[in-house]
């Protein structure tokens, strides 16, 4: 398992000949999100396996080129191309330059992702919702992802839009820097995003500008920090609620 050049399993055969032993590398153009050293994730000298010197770059799937194909793994011009064409056409009509609005288009695992420039997100969402050829009526909320290694785009907001009319699903992704974690709110376009954006703010600290009441939703109102960021530890945090302080489980007094 550990020495596997190609842990991607069955679908990745034929790539073993690559020079670099990188995990399931698709292309060298992918988005670099970090570097992994050693074999077992040990970073304090505990790796005695002999693989401690191994350095591998972690890349997310990179930009795709036309034709994008379709959801069933269609080769050639497919449904994804239709969506992209319609979106680009509609953006043109609104006087937006598709090349600036859509930073890149990724087709991976038969799913279509548009990386959107954050300022244009509400306009894109409105087009996707209202254009008769697109009609993505249902937004299934926003999910945050924290990539500390993706410099300048540490925080990603990921939206999945479902079209009931055309029976399609696409993904929008917006990357923002840690220092300026502002994304325009989509509550105007998709009111369902109200709680979802509050949740993402709560856990990742992404500020959704224009949200009617962006407050914490899961954690207590006075909680410090954003728990699902990668630099936030799991456990070990004393809980303070309404003035009372409860120590972390490992620091509570013992009754034995």
């Amino acid at each position: 398992m550990s020495e596997q050049k190609n842990p991607g399993g069955s679908g990745e055969n034929g790539r073993d000949g690559q020079e670099e032993a990188v995990p399931a590398q698709r292309e060298d153009t992918g988005e670099v999100i970090g570097t992994r050293r050693g074999m077992f994730g040990a970073d304090n000298g505990g790796d005695t396996s002999g693989y401690g010197g191994l350095v591998r770059t972690v890349r997310l799937p990179g930009e795709s080129s036309r034709p994008y194909g379709g959801p069933a793994g269609t080769e050639g011009h497919g449904e994804f191309d239709e969506i992209a064409d319609e979106l680009e056409g509609a953006l043109d009509e609104q006087g937006l330059v598709p090349g600036n609005v859509i930073e890149k288009t990724v087709v991976d695992r038969a799913e279509l992702t548009f990386h959107i420039e954050r300022g244009a997100l509400p306009a894109v969402a409105r087009i996707l919702r209202d254009d008769p050829a697109l009609r993505f009526e249902l937004c299934t909320g926003v999910s945050g992802v924290h990539f500390p290694g993706d410099k300048g785009r540490e925080l990603h907001a990921v939206y999945h839009l479902r079209s009931i009319t055309h029976n399609r699903l696409i993904r929008l992704e917006v990357g923002v820097p840690d220092a300026d974690p502002h994304v325009p709110s989509l509550v105007d376009v998709y009111p369902t995003n109200d709680w979802h954006e509050r949740e993402t703010y709560d856990f990742f600290g992404i500020v959704f500008d224009g949200h009617p009441a962006l407050t914490r939703i899961m954690m207590p109102d006075d909680w410090q920090g954003f728990p699902q960021r990668k630099d936030y530890p799991l456990g070990g945090i004393p809980v303070e609620y309404k003035g009372a302080r409860i120590p972390a489980p490992d620091q509570r007094r013992s009754y034995s």
Binding site: P7, E12, I33, R36, G141, V145, P191, D194
Partner: protein, 458 residues
């Protein structure tokens, strides 16, 4: 805190200002400082309510109210008997499952996700496993038998979830008989779970790549028996409730949400189907081979709680049909992908101590094959690697679209798993359903949403 002066004279009705709203102060004890639970901004709100001379008050219903489906806090602004504004307070059951997932292997994740919406464990597990399998690119390699058993368990689970929805919803109306009926039938389903997975809830039975183990002997017979029994029992709900004038009087026109409202609030499941849209992921985006099963998607055009009740009842009938088809379709075969780099743990069997590794397998890896031992150890402790990327997998849970956004960075642990839980999204529609109605109807509307706080808060 500032209280309004006691300006009211003794004549006239008693108002809130006649009561002492001063919170008890914090006091020192030998155990440390003891704080009271009142105070905060609620004092100001209470004081503001005292000053206004109408009957407008703000009521906290929950988080410990017996009819709010767990620790849901409803904040209701009431003018007389009318709810003028309704908001939800959630987060009381937040357990950080999504964060915890990032610190365990992909396979161990099923143990967490099964605890999210604790009434629909098999849906959580399946949605998660479908996402992991999509990331691994092994969706097509899942054995048929595993998919059929997944579908069977999910449909049994749909029934047990709907039974709780109907039972507790009825109980909140004061109809305790329907509660007894619902939990009686749910018990039959939980017995099946117990036979198949060893547990009544929190199963972790569906694993990335297939199932933890095959069906035990006697499971098929018991499910067949149950289907026979349940066919008879479902009629009782009809007889008891469907035409019952009291039941209809409480439910009809309550919790109204039309199709536009459903789309705006993102409501799915029985709520959107009660607005007349036959949107069901099992039909539109089939997974686990649902395209091969014969069933219908019931809808209603009433947009209200009564329509949702009827839909749940009909969905249970359709689930019985699907379960029967599953039983006919079960062919012998493996229940885990052939890839030994993923099938984890390598060999499972029911041992004297419950679920564990089979003695034969232990004997082999300990006695004769060092390689197999290493492989087993690595797979169990480190887990398998998942190629970098992200995916979204969705299943139609009894409550609506249960989506999983899974991100991998190529490691052996999930980089990020986000659950789009239908209860969470649907609960947002509560305000639209309840405002302008009466307090008693809030209970009915919330019951028709059927939120499970384990899923809402995760």
């Amino acid at each position: 805190m500032t209280t309004a002066p006691h300006s009211h004279s003794s004549d006239g009705p008693r108002t809130a200002s006649d009561f002492d709203t001063e919170p008890s102060p914090a006091r020192e004890t030998t155990e440390g400082t003891v704080y009271n639970v009142s105070g905060g901004d609620w004092d100001e709100i209470a004081a503001a309510a005292v000053k206004s001379d109408d009957e407008r008050i703000i009521v906290n219903m929950g988080p410990q109210h017996p009819s709010t489906h767990g620790v849901l806090r409803l904040i209701l602004e009431i003018d007389g008997e009318t709810v003028t504004e309704a908001r939800c307070g959630i987060g009381y059951l937040h357990t950080g499952i999504e964060k915890n997932l990032e610190f365990r292997t992909w396979t161990q994740g099923t143990t967490f996700v099964t605890r999210m919406d604790y009434l629909t464990p098999f849906f959580n597990e399946t949605a998660y496993c479908l996402a992991v399998e999509k990331l691994l690119g092994i969706t097509a390699d899942i054995p048929d038998r595993a998919s059929v058993i997944r579908v069977m368990l999910m449909e049994l689970n749909r029934m047990s979830s709907h039974l709780v929805a109907i039972a507790t919803g009825g109980m909140e109306l004061g109809a305790t008989t329907i509660m007894i009926y619902g939990f009686r039938d749910r018990e039959l389903i939980l017995d099946i779970y117990e036979l198949i997975t060893g547990l009544r809830m929190n199963h972790a039975y569906i694993r990335p790549g297939g199932l933890a183990q095959d069906l035990p002997p006697g499971a098929v017979d018991q499910v067949r028996e149950f289907v026979k029994k349940m066919r008879k029992n479902i009629g009782e709900y009809d007889k008891l409730a469907t035409g019952n004038p009291v039941f209809k009087g409480r439910m009809e026109g309550i919790g109204y949400l039309d199709l536009a409202g459903c789309m705006a609030t993102g409501a799915t499941g029985p709520i959107v189907r009660s607005a007349g849209l036959p949107h069901d992921l099992r039909k539109t985006q089939p997974y686990c081979g649902y395209e091969d099963y014969d069933f219908e998607v019931p809808t209603a055009d009433t947009c209200d709680s009564y329509g949702r009740f009827l839909i749940r009842l009909e969905e249970m009938r359709q689930s019985l049909r699907i379960v029967e088809q599953c039983l006919d379709r079960l062919a012998p075969g493996p229940v885990m992908v052939a890839d030994k780099k993923i099938a984890w743990p390598a060999q499972l069997a029911l041992g004297p101590d419950g679920l564990g590794n089979s003695l034969d397998h232990i004997k082999k890896i300990m006695g004769t094959s060092m390689e197999a031992l290493i492989h087993h150890f690595k797979l169990v402790t480190e887990g398998f690697r998942v190629p970098p990327g992200q995916t979204y997998a969705a299943v139609e849970s009894p409550k609506g679209e249960l989506g999983v956004h899974a991100v991998s960075d190529g490691g052996t642990r999930p980089y990020r798993v986000h659950f789009r839980d239908p209860s969470f999204t649907n609960l947002q529609a509560m305000a639209a359903m309840c405002e302008g109605g009466q307090v008693a109807d809030v209970i009915v509307a919330v019951a028709s949403i059927d939120p499970v706080m384990g899923g809402v808060d995760r």
